[in-house]
Amino acid sequence: MIKNKALHLIFVSLLTAGTAAAAPSPSGGKAGMVPAAYSINGFTAADMPYDVGGAALLRWLASPSDSADTVYQVFVSTLAAGGWIKADEFPSSAKTGKDMDLPFWAWDGHKAEHAVKVEFNNTYGDIPPGTKFQVRVDALRDGKLLAQSAALPVAPRGNWFRLDRLNNLVLLIVIVVIFFWAVSHAKRKGLFIRRIAGLDAIDEAIGRATEMGKPIYYVPGIGGMSSISTIASAFILGEVSKKVAQYDSYIKIPHYDPIVMTVCKEVVKQSYLEAGRPDSYRDDLNFFVSQDQFSYAASVDGMISREQPAAVFFMGYFMAESLLMAEVGATNGAIQIAGTDSESQLPFFFTACDYTLIGEELYAAGAYLSKEPMLLSALKVQDFGKLVVMVSVFFGIIAVAIGAKMHWDSFVQVILNLFKAY
């Protein structure tokens, strides 16, 4: 009887111990006993390269015992022991070394390993520089802990170079070199620039306004001074207002952005000076209307309807107000010349305006009108850029198609990495 009781006690004790080993708290509590068959091998924790300094890179070898229901949990802590917080959870099929979104020249990842970027900011908010963290990985199946890595220390730090953007930097350097070559070349020889009908029509539009004794409206759009199209618009305004001053016509420039207005005032003033008509310049040629999109459109529409200008220029960045203004100008019979890099608004300008500058033509307009060799030479760089794109697209399509057909995965990956923005 005693022997039977002792056997029962031993059996119950073994069962309890087995249960405790198989089901410790998976939620990041204290590490429990784990089966010896499953382990997390080659676990390393290092600073995440090419980042601002708030993340760590964890790597470990994929286990051959991984199955579809195996899950990894990543824990982080700021304490030397305990205080674990779950930072990430993913199935064992995800986040392999190959899945890291980095190019081949900046990353050597394999399918047979896991690589996880842990962003401490997501867990702890803004972290002071030099903060040290502990990281740990748990492997679970059906909510039961299979294995647990050792806790490793890691101190993220800011990096000084985005090696993953090397392709971008190389392209930039090439463009800068060609830019300077083109500028120096322009000093020696003239360059052929194709005619742009919309810009050739500026003289006609200003001449018509002068003959009719009606004003010219120049609408610089709703972009700020940090918008490239607004900057290009200011350059065009300089040339247009110079011609207006020469013809002794009258220009009005309603503004959406006060900073743009301030810059445009200087540009117009300078143009009147260069045209030898400083006496014709008035400070109220440029005036602020509203910084609300539809209030601006309503006001400009009202002015166009009342004053019926002979010519209207829409140059810069536009959104939904493009058609609201261009249609009113067309209804009033004005010659309209538009230019924008907002491709969604181009169709409206095409239909409502007499001439439309498409995207890059807007950027080229200032140089085209000024006819300064230094500025004209920069157009050659644009042409070179387009040539690079065309050649890259042509040969890229062929190379990727052949690579895909022949199953040269690494080759295709190299091509895709080279032309991807990181």
Binding site: F161, M261, G302
Partner: protein, 222 residues
């Protein structure tokens, strides 16, 4: 004098331009802090510039009223509208809602500003119709292509158009939806991407012209 008026501003443009460009390749905290600082400066400059804009607005409309130019009556509404929004904003400390419900500023937004803004946006629908009418007058081969694409899209979006398509072109086996999808995803995207590539390259070159002082018209010429 030229040193102060030209050289120093060009140097500032060069230094700030190169630093901003470099910050794209430098992920360090210094780089992030620098960009944040620049954004703060831009906001401060914008705030002061807005004051300049307000002065310009008031001056323009004041001169219109004083000279009694055509439509000077509209200029009075600029002042009325300005005070109708600013006075409630000051009284309500800029809050649209309070514990007791909607404030005067909230009312002004809800019952003056929003309806006017929505009305202006709604006018767009009528302008689209008149623009479409103008563009449908086929004057060139390009206009014909535009008309054809637009006509197919209209057919596909209107139930009656779909019935017409099926009765007239049903024998081809191609649904109008498939044709629309092809137009939108092949020629339209191809054209759009071409424009976008040109814009991107143009933006790079324009930026380089400004950073390296080739284009300096914005600060007057020598």
């Amino acid at each position: 004098m030229k040193f102060i008026k030209k050289t120093i501003p060009l140097l500032i443009v060069l230094v700030v331009g190169v630093l901003t460009l470099a910050s794209y390749y430098v992920p360090h905290k210094y780089s992030v802090d620098y960009l944040e600082l620049m954004n703060k400066w831009e906001n401060i400059v914008s705030a002061f510039a807005f004051l300049l804009g307000l002065i310009s607005l008031f001056y323009t409309h004041y001169s219109k009223i004083s000279r009694k130019v055509d439509g000077w009556g509209y200029s009075i509404f600029v002042y009325i509208g300005f005070f109708a929004m600013v006075i409630p904003a000051i009284v309500c400390h800029g809050k649209q809602m309070s514990d007791t419900g909607q404030t005067a500023l909230g009312w002004a937004f809800g019952f003056i500003y929003n309806p006017l803004s929505a009305t202006m946006f709604a006018v767009l629908a009528f302008y689209i119709v008149s623009t479409a009418y103008r563009s449908f007058r086929i004057k060139s081969p390009q206009a014909f292509v535009l008309f054809l694409a637009a006509f197919i899209l209209i057919l596909g979006k209107v139930p009656l158009g779909q019935i017409i398509w099926h009765s007239a072109l049903g024998w081809t086996g191609q649904g109008v939806d498939q044709v629309i999808e092809w137009i939108m995803s092949v020629p339209a995207v191809a054209g759009k991407r071409g424009i976008m590539i040109g814009i991107a390259i143009g933006a790079v070159v324009t930026s380089l012209k400004i950073i390296f002082g080739i284009e300096k018209q914005y600060m007057g010429k020598d």
